[in-house]
C-alpha cells in the first residue's frame, strides 16, 4: 500500500478507498503451518498496526465444488514490506483460507482495506508487551515493526504461543525478537503463552499489553491484565460479511452493548469487555 494515507480515530485508522481493488500476489512463502502472501496494492494506503483487509481470490470465489467461499474474508495486515505492498499471514482453516493459501505469485485477488481501528501506540510511558497466539501473531508483526521503527529501544521480545513446531515457524514473522511457547513443548517454553506473560508482568508490571490470538487465549490475557490493572488492547475476531459496518453481523458483546468489530474494532480495550470469548469466532 502506498504513502499518502489519511488517518482518523487518533491515527489508529487509515482510511480505505471505497471500492475493492484488484491486487496481485507477488510472493508466496510458507512458514511451517502458515502461508505468507505478499501483495502488490499500488492504490492502497499503509495500514495502521491492527487494521485488516477483506480478501477474496479473483478466480473461483463465490461458488466452487464445495459450497463456499462466497463472501470475502478478513485478514490482519501483517507487514508493509514496501510502499504499495502488504503482507498477510494465513492459516488454512476452511474454504476461504484454503483458496487464498493456494494463490501463487502473479495471481489476482480482491482487496478492500485497510479497515477498522488498529492498536493505540500511545503507551503512556509503559513498556509495550506483545502477546500473540497462532495466526493472531499477524498484527503483532506490523506492530512490532512500527514500535521498533519509532525507536522503542527496550522492546521486549513478543510472546508467542503455538500448538506445535510447524506452527511455531510462524514466529519468524516477528523480526524484532520473540519468545515462543508451544502446547506440546516441541519449541521454546512447554506450555501457554500466558505463562510467559505472567513471567514478564511479574518482572515489571508497568506494561501496555497488545494481544491477538484465539478467543480462549485473549480471554486469559484479558483476565490476567484486569487482575493486575495492566492496560491491554485486544485484537479480536468475529465472523464478518462486509468489514465496513454494513451488515451488523460482526458484533461482539461489550460492557456497553454490542459493537461492530469491523468499524469499532477489531482492537478493543480490555476494559470494554466482560469477556473476550466471542460466540461464533470459530477458533
Amino acid at each position: 500500500m502506498s504513502a499518502t494515507a489519511t488517518t482518523t480515530d487518533d491515527g489508529r485508522r487509515t482510511l480505505s478507498p471505497p471500492g475493492r481493488r484488484r491486487a496481485t500476489v507477488i510472493e508466496r512463502r510458507v512458514h511451517g503451518s502458515y502461508v505468507v502472501l505478499r501483495v502488490a496494492d499500488p492504490e492502497g494506503q499503509p495500514a495502521r498496526p491492527g487494521q485488516f483487509a477483506m480478501l477474496a481470490a479473483a478466480e473461483r470465489w463465490g461458488g466452487g465444488d464445495g459450497e463456499r467461499p462466497f463472501l470475502p474474508r478478513a485478514f490482519s495486515v501483517a507487514r508493509i514490506p514496501a510502499p504499495g505492498e502488504a503482507e498477510f499471514l494465513l492459516e488454512d482453516v476452511g474454504p476461504g483460507t484454503e483458496r487464498l493459501c493456494e494463490l501463487e505469485a502473479g495471481d489476482a485477488l480482491w482487496l478492500l482495506g485497510p479497515l477498522g481501528i488498529g492498536f493505540g501506540l500511545e503507551a503512556g510511558g509503559r513498556r509495550p508487551l506483545l502477546a500473540g497466539g497462532g495466526v493472531g501473531i499477524a498484527p503483532l508483526a506490523i506492530l512490532q515493526d512500527e514500535l521498533a521503527a519509532s525507536g522503542a529501544a527496550d522492546l521486549a521480545p513478543a510472546l508467542l504461543g503455538f500448538r506445535d513446531a510447524p506452527h511455531a515457524e510462524g514466529a519468524a514473522l516477528l523480526r524484532h525478537g520473540a519468545r515462543v511457547a508451544t502446547d506440546d513443548g516441541s519449541v521454546g517454553h512447554h506450555g501457554r503463552v500466558t505463562e510467559l506473560l505472567v513471567e514478564e508482568l511479574d518482572r515489571d508490571e508497568r506494561a501496555q499489553v497488545y494481544a491477538c490470538g484465539p478467543p480462549a487465549m485473549l480471554e486469559a490475557v484479558r483476565a490476567l491484565c484486569a487482575e493486575r490493572d495492566v492496560p491491554v488492547q485486544l485484537a479480536l475476531e468475529s465472523g464478518m460479511a462486509c468489514g465496513y459496518g454494513a451488515c451488523f453481523g460482526c458484533v461482539v458483546p461489550t460492557k456497553s452493548g454490542y459493537v461492530r468489530l469491523c468499524v469499532d474494532g477489531p482492537v478493543l480495550d480490555g476494559e470494554q469487555l466482560e469477556t473476550a470469548l466471542v460466540p461464533g469466532a470459530g477458533h
Binding site: 482510511l15 471505497p18 468475529s238 460479511a241 462486509c242 465496513y244 451488523f248 461482539v252
Partner: protein
C-alpha cells in the same frame, strides 16, 4: 464468461435517469435497507464514499420506536452464493435516529428513504408521523415483515392486516409510502393488491426468506437467534418470480431486490416490471457494487438488445 465485478467503467456516475414516485434519480440502483450503513462506511472510507456514492438514493436501516440491541451473535452464516442473517434490527430507536443519524444521512448526495417498522399499527403510525414533514426525507418504506405483537401474525403476510396498516398511516404524510413485502407469504400478489388499494405509492420486494443452518461442530442451530433470513444470489430466481407476479397484479412502481450481483440481474428485474432495483448482499462483497451494477446496466442499455456476453454462440 466475464468475471463478476471487474470494476470496469465505474469511474463516472452511470447515467440512467429514472423517476420514482416523483423523485428524480440518476440511475435505478439503490440499496436494500439494512445492507449499507452510510455513516459507518464514511468512517471507513472518508469523503471518497460520498464522491463515489454507489446508490442513486439511500435507504436507511429499519428504525423502530424503541432502541434495539439486535440478536445475539453469531448473526451470519454463509451459503453457497448467499447468506443467512439474524441481525435482529439493531437501531438507536426513533429518537436516536432523529438526533444522530438523520442529520448525517441528510448530507448524502442522494435522496433519503427511511425504512420503519412497528410492532403495532400505532407504532408504525408514530414512526410515519415523525418523518411526515421532514424535508430531509424523500420517502418512507414500511418494513412489514415483523409479527404484530397483538395478533402474533406477520403483518405483511396477510392482505387484510397490510391494508389496515397502510390505511392507518396513509393520511399522515404526503410523502411516498413504499410497502416492503415479505416473501414468506402464500400470495405476495394479494398483499400487493391490498397495499395498492389502501393507498401505498410503491412496493419493494423481496425481503429475506426464512432459513437456518446447523453448526458443523455442535450440530445445533448456528445462529444466535436460531433462524434467520436468506439473501444473495441463492434467492434470485425466487425474487424474480415474485416481482413478476406482483408487477402483473398492481400498477404501482416496484423496488425489486434479491440476489442482484450484476447489471444483467438488475435488468432481469426491470424487465419483470420493476422501476428501481436494490442491491443488498452484494455490497458486502464490494462496497461499490451498486455503482458497478448501474454501470453494467447502462452498458447493457447501450448494447440495446444485443445478446451480449451471456448468450452462447450458435453452432
Amino acid at each position: 464468461m466475464p468475471a463478476i465485478g471487474t470494476g470496469a467503467g465505474i469511474d463516472a456516475t452511470p447515467s440512467l435517469p429514472t423517476t420514482f414516485c416523483g423523485i428524480e434519480l440518476a440511475h435505478p440502483i439503490v440499496n436494500g435497507s439494512g445492507t449499507f450503513d452510510a455513516i459507518a462506511a464514511r468512517r471507513a472510507f472518508g469523503d471518497a464514499l460520498v464522491e463515489q456514492f454507489p446508490f442513486s438514493a439511500f435507504v436507511s436501516k429499519t428504525v423502530t420506536v424503541a432502541p434495539r440491541e439486535g440478536n445475539p451473535p453469531p448473526r451470519l452464516w454463509e451459503l453457497p452464493g448467499g447468506l443467512i442473517n439474524s441481525i435482529g434490527l439493531p437501531n438507536k430507536g426513533l429518537d436516536g435516529y432523529l438526533t444522530h443519524d438523520l442529520p448525517e444521512l441528510a448530507r448524502l448526495p442522494v435522496p433519503l428513504i427511511v425504512n420503519v417498522m412497528g410492532f403495532t399499527r400505532e407504532e408504525v403510525a408514530r414512526l410515519v408521523d415523525a418523518f411526515a414533514e421532514r424535508e430531509e426525507v424523500s420517502a418512507l418504506e414500511l418494513n412489514v415483515s415483523c409479527p404484530n405483537v397483538e395478533t402474533g401474525l406477520i403483518m405483511g403476510a396477510d392482505p387484510g392486516e397490510t391494508a389496515k396498516l397502510v390505511e392507518r398511516v396513509r393520511p399522515l404524510t404526503a410523502k411516498p409510502i413504499i410497502v416492503k413485502l415479505t416473501p414468506n407469504a402464500t400470495d405476495p400478489g394479494a398483499v400487493a393488491e391490498a397495499a395498492e388499494a389502501a393507498g401505498a405509492d410503491a412496493l419493494s420486494l423481496i425481503n429475506t426468506i426464512r432459513g437456518m443452518a446447523l453448526d458443523p461442530r455442535t450440530r445445533e442451530p448456528w445462529l444466535g437467534a436460531g433462524t434467520g433470513g436468506v439473501s444473495g444470489a441463492t434467492v434470485r430466481a425466487i425474487a424474480l418470480a415474485q416481482v413478476q407476479e406482483v408487477a402483473r397484479r398492481v400498477s404501482l412502481p416496484l423496488v425489486a431486490m434479491g440476489g442482484v450481483q450484476r447489471g444483467r440481474d438488475a435488468d432481469d428485474l426491470l424487465r419483470a416490471g420493476a422501476t428501481l432495483v436494490a442491491v443488498g448482499t452484494e455490497s458486502f462483497r464490494d462496497p461499490l457494487a451498486g455503482r458497478r451494477v448501474a454501470a453494467e446496466l447502462a452498458e447493457l442499455r447501450r448494447e440495446g438488445s444485443n445478446p451480449g456476453a451471456d448468450a452462447p454462440a450458435s453452432t
